[in-house]
Symmetry: C2
Subunit: 313 residues, 2 copies
Amino acid sequence: MKKILITGFSGFVSQHFVDYLKKNKIEIEILGVDINEPEDDININFEKLDLLDIDELKKTVTKFKPDYILHLASYSSVRFSWENPSLSFKNNMNIFLNLMEVIREVLPSCRVLSVGSSEQYGNLGDNEFVLEEDCSLLPVSPYAVARVAQENLSRVYCDGYGLDIVMTRSFNHIGPKQKNIFVISSFAKQLVEIKNNGKKGAKLVTGDVTVVRDFLDVRDVVDAYYKLLLEGEKGQVYNICSGVGISLKEIIELMCEILGIDVSLETDSRLLRPNENKKIIGSNRKIVEKIGWEQKIPLRKSLEDIINYWSYQ
Amino acid sequence: MKKILITGFSGFVSQHFVDYLKKNKIEIEILGVDINEPEDDININFEKLDLLDIDELKKTVTKFKPDYILHLASYSSVRFSWENPSLSFKNNMNIFLNLMEVIREVLPSCRVLSVGSSEQYGNLGDNEFVLEEDCSLLPVSPYAVARVAQENLSRVYCDGYGLDIVMTRSFNHIGPKQKNIFVISSFAKQLVEIKNNGKKGAKLVTGDVTVVRDFLDVRDVVDAYYKLLLEGEKGQVYNICSGVGISLKEIIELMCEILGIDVSLETDSRLLRPNENKKIIGSNRKIVEKIGWEQKIPLRKSLEDIINYWSYQ
């Protein structure tokens, strides 16, 4: 049986990746590692591991000898990266470099999926075009700069040292179980509370809701990750996105419609970021054409499931 | 009187920058910092400082309060970066992040020149075009990835935190006093020895001499640095280059002609790099048109001066 090591195992995406493997009856031996214990007991091999500790990481990789590594671990908060640019950058780079160095030394044949972010593209102004993988990258946050560096290092480790790495630029993903530090989950949770409290004239406090993003259900994202681990071309980068842009304001309106409520919006300037990308919409042509992946869950279905999730918390 | 802090003060470029200030009778108070003592006693304020030590750096910047910082310090060996990718990357990024964080905290008005490299462009194949600043960056060495990250972080610190940074992509610079770990100096030193020893049929051992590079005299480089510190536009990046490509083989032939000798070339495979850029030629249009800089020293004059330098060592 093949073996897969999943970093960032206790996070949102990993849970859905494991669900995906089960649902599709994919037989593969899993070892999850994370700095935090997983919240649910899902009866899968788990090791508490700080990826900043290269010696421990090396022991784990040497012992488990994975065929695949799904590298989900990151310090992924853009907000934290603005508050602590140096620490955010270093942590993200150090965990990635530790992983690369360990693989280079003990398991160079292992296939790695290096997960990146649509934030790498940066601010392209009020462009009307969707982002293809060969666009210039002009990252505008410390977090995004680290993601660009991770992708560039992935290419170097592929071309210069012969490692087997596939890279993604994953656009905003949403779904049930996502923590409410993320914007859509945060809105959904608040709107469910407003609905439950039966408040008339309730207010939703937000940051800038005019920003346009490309949202994809996490269950479609993990489908893409699995397909890329198997079929992705070494050294190539793939957008993972819906190809459709929608503003946060429209998302809120859709959720209000699903819930049958009305709210007014109030902007809190503390929620505005120093330098925000106005619009990020990706093209998924490459992964659709080369890998045969396709989006299966429409946005409205995702929002319904997220609202359901918060309704039963 | 204005004040300038120079990092990497004991290096080759810094020496020429100080010579430039003297020669042009520019009155400015200088503080040099470096992890190594300068080789020559040039009667300028100097502090031995490891930029990886953020507390010491902060003390120095707080006390000196420079108007300008010329950030020359880096772990600039591409070869070292291939041998120690993780360490090379981390050191380069950590000294830069320390500098940024100190300035952000104690001296946000200070103008910084962040020196980058033509290596950032990466391998564009057998292109016939010269590299403009808006080309895509596909760095192929760990060193080059760090340089791209430094430039991206510079833009983030400008746009996101309001710092005053100008960036360069400096192409290969050459000149007298450059150490012979760098290719042109190494060739010049060996050819001078061959000339002095009067060897017939002597051999020069080289790496790949078919690579084409854009060489600029260090004295033209420091002229560009000074002009950019004064006139560069905040948040902008400028190529510093001659605009002309020449192969290492042609350089060797030119030097042999100057010395009046003949040599045969022998390739040492240990001197080949894992993933070498075949051709790097820059466009200097932006700095010429926007800043009024121009190249003053032709290649042949540079090579003569380098040969003279090694002749008297």
